[in-house]
């Protein structure tokens, strides 16, 4: 069970109301609403193309400008509506208030600069008051569990393993002390043992820094024990929402049921994986 229900504690940090995302004729996200409280961890689960990643990118308007992509609805961060802000304001929110970690750590880092200089870039952008950037870089690298940070911060991305690259990405996100960390399938590109390490690290950091986390995944195995609440998305709509334990124990929507039944269980011979018959599912 989630410790105490943080949703009740205060006004939500982030509130999404009727968010719609259209790419030309295609409606990728169709009027979804959810909220994220301070310190809460929310998991968004859904298959490829269900609209979970674009929703996350829409939170700071990281999508292509119109006419390629049109946004509707409302995204309230504090007392601001992100969909109404101008570019310079968005630059201040990106990284500083809402930071991202992406799926592919190896391509998320610029190959030509040391990891230290890339973390330094984040510091320069959002915390110009930091006197000793190198000390700060070393501190966050240590925080995300990179051994020997005094030396490693001079390494180039290609000198690090995938897991370490993802730790660097997390360090880069954390150095700006964001209120919300959006993790877009942060473990998909990593192998299973590293996945567990990264999830542990995120859980640890969340506890230490008290930030909210929006975790996007299609893996229910990660959700359990990590997220306080779960949103299940299917074809651009939220089909199920609730505390993690409840959703996992007692899934309501056929898609959620099918997804949960695909988690392999120890000691149980797995027959063919369940497939979804889309024709019977109302989106």
């Amino acid at each position: 069970m989630p410790s105490a229900d943080p949703t009740l504690s205060a006004a939500p940090l982030l509130q999404v109301k009727g968010l719609t995302i259209r790419f030309g004729e295609l409606t990728a996200v169709d009027g979804i609403s959810f909220q994220l409280a301070a310190g809460e961890t929310l998991a968004v689960v859904g298959e490829s193309g269900s609209g979970k990643s674009v929703s996350a990118l829409a939170l700071t308007r990281l999508l292509p400008p119109p006419p390629a992509c049109r946004l509707g609805g409302e995204i309230r961060l504090g007392d601001r509506d992100i969909l109404k802000l101008d570019e310079p304001m968005l630059h201040k929110i990106r990284g500083k208030e809402i930071a991202y970690i992406f799926q592919e750590p190896s391509s998320s880092l610029n190959p030509l600069f040391t990891i230290g200089s890339q973390i330094g870039e984040a510091i320069r952008l959002h915390r110009p008051d930091v006197k000793d950037p190198v000390a700060e870089i070393v501190r966050v690298l240590d925080l995300v569990g990179i051994r020997d940070p005094e030396k490693r911060h001079r390494d180039y991305p290609h000198q690090l393993s995938g897991g370490m690259q993802q730790r660097v990405m997390i360090a880069m996100a954390l150095v700006c002390q964001p209120k919300i960390l959006v993790a877009d399938e942060p473990t998909t590109a990593l192998d299973v043992t590293i996945q567990a390490q990264i999830i542990d690290l995120l859980r640890d950091l969340k506890k230490k820094l008290g930030m909210s986390v929006l975790m996007i995944t299609h893996n229910f195995g990660i959700v359990h024990g990590f997220a306080d609440r779960v949103i299940v998305m299917f074809r651009g709509k939220i089909v199920e929402e609730g505390p993690t334990e409840v959703v996992l124990r007692n899934p309501q929507h056929p898609y959620t049921k099918a997804l949960i039944s695909c988690i392999p269980r120890l000691g149980q011979r797995q027959e063919r994986l369940v497939t979804i018959d889309y024709s019977t599912l109302a989106p």
Partner: protein, 343 residues
Amino acid sequence: MFSEITRQQFRRFRSIRRAWVSFWILVVVYVVSLFSEHVANDRPLVMRYGGNTFFPTLKFYSAETFGGRYRTEADYLALEKTPEFLAQGGWMLFPVIKSDPLRSYLKEDGSPPLAPSARHWLGTDDSARDVAARLLYGFRTSMTFALVLAVLSAVMGIIVGGIQGYAGGWVDLAGQRLIEVWSALPFLYVVILIGSIYGQTFGVLLFVFLLFEWIGLSYYMRGEFYRLKHQTFTQAAQALGAGSFRILYRHILPNAMVPVITLFPFMLIGGISALTSLDFLGFGLPPPTPSWGEMLQQGLKYLYAPWLAFSSVIALFSTLLLASFVGEGARAAFDPRSSNAIR
């Protein structure tokens, strides 16, 4: 200051012997040609006359200074042989090539073009001007022209291609159509027209070449910027709150430099051969500027004087070959896709 990858590429370039040696030959010859006045000149580097020391390649001295009648520049070659000069115990130290590229040496025996001799190592052209001196000065002109042209057109190509690739959409579409129309302009007519209106000076020719040279690179840069714009690290920088300029300057441009570096030597080759062919046709730099194209033209005209054709062809050929080697090496060293192709 340079990243590890850059240094590694540089080391790889150095390990390709042929490219590295070619690069240094070109650099040394170009630097020497920058001091052409002190390498090929009929004024002495140092001379001693009447107890004083003179440096005629650096400073102008009139004939009066050395007991002549006129205020025009002294004729040192004649002066050297006068009995008064010898009586004064004077001496002159001449540059390696004892000829001025613009001066006709008509006092020698025979009629020009003169065959190679101890006095004129590569012979003279039809105006009795020293071929070796003209080759050297011509190299300086071609190389300077090509270098300036390559640098300016690279800058222009990066800017135009970068804007197109990064902005995309209508900007890209309209830009691309404009470039297509622009590149369809007949280059030679434009050169002849502008040349005949504003004169065929170095600057005008450079300008006209520049109007067309940047187009090739802009295609590459457009593609690179377009590709890099969609790289995750660019999007990660965006998600971090970096502005457009910062993303362009720090995340896209450095990663887009590979085509610039690998194409640069070939742009240089293009510049040299374009100027040479224009000179050959007579639409290039006006006479009597020492130029390789004009020498090639003479070589064609006086086939019975093969030193003319040989010296200019060999000079042009070796310059282009060396630059090609440099380009080939640069491509092998800097292009990630052909990392160890040649040794």
